[in-house]
């Protein structure tokens, strides 16, 4: 990038009111929810309204070798949409169209629509888009695809990639291409759609998604239980998943329970060591069978309070409690937010190991988890003004990932690698896999303009 580069050329190729140069507004695009201290102020923000806007912006960046940060709603938890000095942030927040075809059971959506808005729009056609990150009310569907986001129902219904049938994506050179389409089966050519899902904006900018929809989820029955210890709770998880795949199986430890109770005052057991929230949406009599299996597994692991309900609203209250865990724990201090996952049988070892790290490093680590699929969110709570504690928190952050890798797990189940976890990626996947990944990156983005610092 030449020192003399001005934004005049960029402004000239885009509609009025698209390129943001006001530093006060740009400051709002510096961070995503990961609050990466290394995040920088981008040179400008392009608030695209269309694929054509994204194409024009990327072409200008490519011609001038300006790095590009793709950004959806900015709710990323790995720092993958945070700003970079000298870069242009291309925000898709204004790209909010959706078309639903109830016969084909697909939605064609622009990336800026929020996950909750997609769910709500398809519900009006009697359909269901399953993936449900806890942040579903504030995260964008484009960001969901970029990170291959998960959620609570994924234990039974799979993750974002399982619902992406096609997309339009703008490549690093500004070409917009279409991949896949509204077809349930398609083996024609390389599976590029699946490659772009989860690529965190490093290979292209998704400007449209074709999503597979399901019939509405049957009404779910809910079982909630408190346990004396996290270990009892994780053993109960295995006792359930050995037999059935529930529609939801969520875990909160004592810190999370108390933080949530502080806010919601819904009568959660503040003395419990852990809490599990499980749901079955099996149709008809099968739900009762599953609820019986879940209840028996809870009781066999000394659950102190087991509450079950067929009332959907009552069950939803516990889901809301679980969804609130991250923001509630966030009130206790600054957070380093983990997303480690392990094969299910290693879940107790992971949770026990995290407790050992917390003790050794003398930091608070609250664990919440999508326990049914082995995906946990250890939340490392620290006081950023206490530099020694912050340094210990940083050490713990790495050690939790090392622990997961050692257990055959992953450093990220659903948030993506972003900038915060990229140092651990080679440890998980190995140098050969990094080499293959880099070759693909080099082939599709030879100047490494797309989301520099993320993943690679």
């Amino acid at each position: 990038m030449a020192d003399t580069l001005t934004l005049d050329g960029l402004i000239a190729v885009l509609p009025a009111d698209t390129v943001v140069t006001d530093p006060d507004i740009i400051a709002g695009y510096r961070q995503d929810r990961a609050l990466d201290p290394e995040a920088g102020l981008p040179m400008a923000v392009v608030r695209a309204r269309s694929t054509a806007d994204v194409v024009a912006a990327v072409r200008w960046c490519a011609a001038n070798r300006v790095p590009i940060i793709p950004r959806g709603a900015g709710t990323g938890l790995s720092g993958g949409s945070g700003g970079v000095v000298g870069a242009i942030t291309i925000s898709t927040e204004r790209m909010r169209e959706i078309e639903i075809d109830p016969v084909m059971r697909v939605a064609v959506v622009q990336p800026g629509l929020l996950n909750a808005e997609v769910k709500s729009a398809v519900k009006q056609h009697g359909l269901w888009y399953p993936p449900d990150p806890s942040s579903f009310e504030i995260c964008s569907i484009g960001g969901n695809a970029a990170t291959n986001a998960g959620g609570l129902c994924c234990v039974k219904y799979g993750v974002t990639t399982d619902y992406v049938l096609g997309m339009q994506v703008v490549l690093a050179d500004g070409r917009a291409i279409r991949l896949g389409g509204p077809r349930l089966k398609d083996s024609a050519g390389l599976s590029l759609t699946k490659l772009f899902v989860g690529s965190e904006g490093t290979l292209g900018i998704i400007t449209e998604l074709t999503l597979r929809l399901l019939p509405p989820q049957p009404p779910a029955s809910t079982v909630v239980a408190s346990f004396a210890s996290v270990h009892h709770a994780t053993e109960a998880v295995l006792a359930i998943t050995d037999q059935i795949r529930p529609a939801m199986l969520e875990f909160m430890d004592a810190v999370a329970i108390n933080a949530v109770e502080d806010h919601l005052k819904m009568g959660l057991d503040r003395t419990a060591g852990a809490m599990l929230v499980a749901q079955s949406d099996a149709p008809g009599a099968a739900a009762a069978d599953e609820i019986a299996i879940i209840t028996a597994a809870f009781e066999a692991n000394e659950a102190s309070e087991v509450f079950s309900t067929d009332d959907v609203a009552e069950g939803e209250a516990f889901t809301v409690a679980r969804r609130m865990a991250i923001p509630a724990v966030e009130k206790l201090g600054s957070l380093l937010l983990e997303d480690v996952g392990v094969p299910l049988p290693s879940l107790p070892a992971l949770v026990d190991g995290i407790a050992a790290i917390a003790q050794r490093r003398d930091v608070m680590i609250s664990v919440i988890a999508h326990a049914g699929d082995g995906n946990t969110h250890p939340l490392i709570v620290f006081d950023p003004t206490d530099t020694e504690q912050a340094a210990r928190a940083d050490l713990a952050f790495g050690e939790v990932m090392d622990l997961a890798i050692g257990l055959g797990g992953t450093i990220t189940g659903e948030h993506g690698v972003g900038r915060l976890k990229k140092a651990w990626l080679p440890d998980q996947v190995g140098e050969d896999v990094m080499d293959v990944s880099r070759r693909i990156k080099d082939a599709l983005d030879p100047d490494h303009l797309l989301n520099p610092g993320t993943m690679f």
Copy 2:
């Protein structure tokens, strides 16, 4: 490749009885089930027993710039595993190990095991591997992954890629790498596992797969009906899929019905224009609801005989009939086998359009279909000794793919592009997508040694 190249070096790096040089045996590796007239006799066949064997063979080929044809059971229907003159065919037929972890619900399998053997082995642990190509008794799991194979239950349960959690794959330079693993959620790095599934051996040779397993399929109820015309049947398909996603929804036209009846003599209605076989495996009372919806849709479209049964064996007899359709029609002449798919609402237009092509080109085209997901197998029957008819069959083969592309569909829903369909791939996906695909191919296999002529 030097003219003076001998196989001594290859034989030296592999265990005894691994490199096949006997021309009579090699002849058996010339064709796959596509019977591509262009297929050539490979220079030798490596019958690998382990990943190490594949690594050694690929390294030798890479050092000597010898093309490599990866091959599983040789049941491919697009010519992707047929022989190439001067190439080494690496067969995985002897790699037949399987390990099942019932707690994690995964199977770690070598690629040479047949799909039916995988199903049978996991069934002994009370588990289910859903994908079920019609050829499941003779096709290998490695070939299934290489082509992203589908089958009958895919309308409800998805295709091979939805069940591949990880793999070991040998790259073009002979490095063996591991991708993914036994984790239900993993967003760490590019989705390479998904990229290699369906890559038809053009990016690497899969030597091990980690497969996700499900609890056993609930017993299915079956409804079978005959229709006066194919159009009535395809309209019935839409009437069903507008409301529910059945566990199976298969279509046979009059030619297929009669060809199957010739063999099975099970009393199929030889006067019918088409037949549908549908199943519901919804638990409990939900099955009866689905069967009622299916039956009503059949009757609303003037089905002449509607037979339903809760008896699994009785239902399976009709599934067997449908699975037998390709081999039965094959007895009528040589086949050009299509695999075109369209978005569901276009299914009647596709089937009607195929009839028009058959009439215009004066060739017999029998249509069977996984109708519930819009994936059809038009079978073009011709007499290879009648060169004029064979030429018309060739024209029809291309026109059926053109038709599918024109309807927003795909040239291959589950068989892969192979060598026979690659000329149509750019028409479907466009030149920009071909360019992206070629860049990835070039990045991972710069000398284009892996499965030359397939897809690219």
